[in-house]
């Protein structure tokens, strides 16, 4: 498969994948003297599930943070929806339709599950501050509409039973799911998941995998996810980027990657020179 082509392809299970949604070109990111990412390029196509894998410290999370605007790379370009993205702050990136979750769950602990999911809808609320006070009807209508969307996603992720529960009280696995719900509520064109399965037991991992596939299937959402659990990733994703020590060492379908010698070395721990 030609990585740099802008055309789509058809997956093994017959899903049609569209053209390039996002393209990272020669990204280099360093913190002081430490290079977290060295000259990495890859693309994400519309409708696919794209994974970034690699051992601990490979620079996966840094890559995700570059995509979501939390880190600004020293070199390289980010292309999104066919245009070069100027330097943006994270909230501006979010407003462009890129939603994300965090490795160490970042929820609003003081709020209920429903309120958390509703914050995902903030960018879909356009009524200004004054209008909300003066023109009650419009603001109310907007609130009801957004509430309906939020409820739909809550149903979809099967968290109706805990809608009113403050998130601080939820167990880890459910928190992860609420975070996914909040990201989905934004109706993103690109959904970034930072280790969605980290710290979960087998059952929770299976649930989460199912939800990721369902989201992609039902809403056609393009998903880019980071994992270091190889097994999960291979079952889930259409194409995989493999990173090690900040460099890209493999890119392709799960089968291609699995048979890549450099990838096998990285995972089995062959010494670097």
């Amino acid at each position: 498969m030609n990585d740099m082509s802008t055309e789509g392809y058809t997956t093994a299970d017959g899903r049609k994948i569209g053209g390039t949604l996002m393209e990272m070109k020669n990204i280099t990111l360093s913190f002081g003297g430490v290079k977290a990412i060295t000259d990495i390029s890859f693309d994400i196509k519309e409708g696919e599930i794209r994974a970034i894998i690699g051992p601990n410290g490979a620079g996966k999370s840094s890559m995700l943070n570059v995509i979501s605007g939390f880190y600004i790379p020293q070199q390289g370009e980010v292309w999104y929806q066919g245009a070069k993205r100027p330097q943006m702050r994270p909230y501006e990136v979010a407003r462009q339709g890129i939603a994300r979750t965090f490795q160490n769950i970042a929820l609003f602990d003081g709020m209920s599950v429903l309120d958390n999911v509703m914050t995902g809808r903030l960018n879909h609320m356009t009524t200004g501050l004054l209008a909300q006070g003066l023109w009650k009807g419009k603001a109310e209508r907007e609130e009801v509409e957004n509430r309906e969307r939020a409820e739909k996603i809550i149903d979809f992720l099967e968290i109706q039973a805990i809608r009113k529960t403050p998130v601080a009280r939820l167990p880890y696995g459910l928190k992860k799911r609420v975070e996914l719900a909040r990201a989905l509520a934004a109706e993103p064109s690109l959904l970034l998941l930072d280790e969605p399965m980290a710290g979960m037991n087998v059952e929770e991992k299976e649930d989460m995998s199912r939800f990721i596939l369902d989201v992609n299937d039902e809403f056609g959402t393009t998903i880019a996810l980071i994992e270091h659990d190889m097994g999960v990733v291979m079952d889930l994703s259409d194409r995989v980027v493999v990173m090690d020590y900040g460099k890209k060492i493999g890119d392709g379908t799960p089968d291609e990657v699995r048979n890549n010698q450099a990838v096998i070395d990285a995972y089995l721990g062959v010494s670097h020179d």
Partner: protein, 333 residues
Amino acid sequence: MPDNLIFGIEVFLNGLMAGVLYALVALGFVLIYKASGIFNYAQGVMALFAAATLVGIMNGQVPFSHLINAMFGTEVHYFGWHLPALLGILLTAAFMVLLAWLVQKFVFKHLVGQEPIILFMATIGLAYFLEGISDLMWGSEIKNLDVGLPQGASIWLEDSTRWMGFGNENFYGFFIDKLDMFATVIAAILVLALVIFSQYSKQGRAMRAVADDHQAALSVGINLNFIWVMVWSLAGFVALVAGIMWGTKSGVQFSLSLIALKALPVLMLGGFTSIPGAIVGGLIIGVGEKLFEFAVGPMVGGATENWFAYVLALIFLVFRPQGLFGEKIIERV
């Protein structure tokens, strides 16, 4: 009714009114603390600054006139206008928004993610800076603030409560300052508006989100800077209201900024994160210190009002550190 009981009731009512004024100041603290985790020591000075600015604008005072006159040898003091109170208040409110923006842009934007103690120190610096700027801009003399608020005892209330003496000839009805009553109404409206704003508006929801988690707030597309400027503006607005009430009562002067210290025990009682807590805490302190002075004061030689609030706060710190309404902090191990 016996004299003592009647007097006690009157003390109680006046305590409630004083409590409302404490609560007004405490409210400003809670707003900023909830949204940014900053304990804003400058809240009291902001009230002073707002009141001084209001007086200056209404009287058409030339800002920095002493400085200008000293530098250029001129003799300008007044523009020669006198603005109506409402216009003056609107202009001052706009000025407080500008101040909020400046504070965010030049101070707190650069301190994002710092330790709370560093942010606290920054607000102490801000307090002294604002105090100095206030003196430079509007002069340091005691100013009279009159925006047309009702003042003095309410004759109507006195007349209509005279019967409650039940034949006691020394009782002429309850004495309550009209300004205090007015402040109570204003505070109630302000609190109601703030609660509705933070619970039901889009910006209010964003504000609560920012208070909880910066990163998560960014990831759903909230502009942190905007929210912080908004919160500081709100706090500035509350400071303006508090400044008007206290300034009308006792003149616009330096001691106004010290009411911030009275707000501290109020916050300990009510909890730093609760808007209703600030109100209830203010009322308890107001009533408590007046009744204590009335009941115990004569036995210990008086002046209990100076320390009562702090001792009460200390007791709360020991037995209920999160305050009456504050969020209980539980660290999971």
